[in-house]
């Protein structure tokens, strides 16, 4: 513990992973003290780096523990913060592990495709949709396309059903296939139609924003849909688009650069 080394990063997790890679050990071999949890700041102001001090656990372990407790006799605030490394500890190694396995694009066999198609057809049949599924793959991209009757119901309102199904299928697929797989699910011509709608909406709003200078927004889009809008507007230098909000469904603001929103 005499050799405590300090590391900093934009947050505690990053600092820990830097320490791990610098010392070439895994996180659970490190005794970590959070000196400052850091802060992302507000709009880039008041950003603080996270600081940690680490030592390698091991034979010195008994020596480390008491030192740690004395060092953390500070107020409860500090005690609360200390939970952070243990909280993020299952996260960091998992991310490291997944980046190892999922960075490699997966190879997909015809057997895999059949297996996926089977699953999809079975689930859809159980929900009550007798449908056809065609499935194709290109490198690590898999596309499944549902056709048949009652496509509107398969898609659901705002594509909710289709996206739920796509999400579950991604989970199921990732349990079978190692590595990175891109799975997309379409029903009828829903995705194309949705893309066209969004692009039209983006164009209309962009024109209005250009005209009036007032910020407009499109509420509650999922990541793929936000991407469509941003891509559509990225070449237009007179306006900008940005996602705001928290969670899966953020909204997009379209605004004239150099102005405060609203």
């Amino acid at each position: 513990m005499s050799e405590k080394i300090k590391y900093s990063g934009k947050d505690v997790t990053e600092a820990i992973s830097m320490a791990c890679s610098a010392l070439n050990v895994s996180q659970d071999q490190l005794a970590i003290d959070v000196l400052s949890p850091g802060s992302a700041g507000l709009f880039g102001l008041g950003r603080k780096k996270a600081m940690i001090a680490v030592s390698i656990k091991g034979s010195a372990r008994t020596a480390t523990e008491p030192a740690e407790t004395t060092e953390h006799k500070r107020p409860r605030k500090e005690g609360g913060r200390r939970r952070q490394p243990s909280q993020s500890s299952p996260r960091a190694p998992r991310r490291a592990a997944s980046s190892e396995s999922s960075h490699e694009p997966a190879t997909i066999t015809n057997v895999d495709l059949d297996w996926i198609k089977n699953h999809l057809v079975k689930i859809l049949a159980m929900v009550g949709f007798p449908v056809e599924v065609t499935i194709t793959s290109n490198d690590n991209k898999i596309k499944a396309h549902i056709t048949g009757a009652a496509m509107e119901e398969v898609v659901g309102s705002e594509g909710q059903t289709l996206d739920s199904l796509q999400y579950l299928m991604r989970k199921i697929i990732s349990r079978r296939i190692q590595g990175r797989v891109m799975f997309s699910l379409d029903a009828g011509d829903y995705r194309d139609r949705r893309r066209q709608d969004l692009e039209e909406q983006a164009d209309t709003l962009a024109a209005e924003v250009r005209e009036s200078g007032r910020t407009k927004s499109i509420p509650a889009l999922n990541p793929a849909e936000r991407r469509i809008v941003h891509m559509r507007l990225q070449d237009d230098t007179s306006i900008r688009s940005r996602s705001v909000g928290e969670g899966h469904f953020k909204k997009i603001l379209i605004y004239v650069p150099g102005r405060k929103k609203r």
């Binding site: 699953h119 159980m126 999400y167 199921i172």
Partner: protein
């Protein structure tokens, strides 16, 4: 519908033998109680309950097609 829940659950968990679905009728609502191994709970719930929500979406549609109402409960 019971089949649907257990099929999806089984394809998400490690311990497939521990997947159990009970159907309880509460008035006009059919309640499906899903039980999985303790370690698999997170897998059927998902981040922010996303997986559970997705299963519920599919269950709801299945229920509509069967002309009834259904609810999914994940039992600890």
């Amino acid at each position: 519908m019971k089949e649907l829940v257990s099929y999806i659950a089984a394809s998400l968990v490690d311990d497939q033998d521990a997947v159990q679905v009970n159907e309880v009728d509460q008035g006009d609502v059919r309640v499906f109680e899903l039980r999985v191994a303790k370690d698999d709970l997170g897998k059927v719930i998902g981040k922010q309950g996303r997986t559970a929500r997705a299963i519920r979406t599919l269950l709801a549609i299945s229920a509509t097609r069967n002309g009834c109402k259904a609810r999914l409960e994940i039992m600890e």
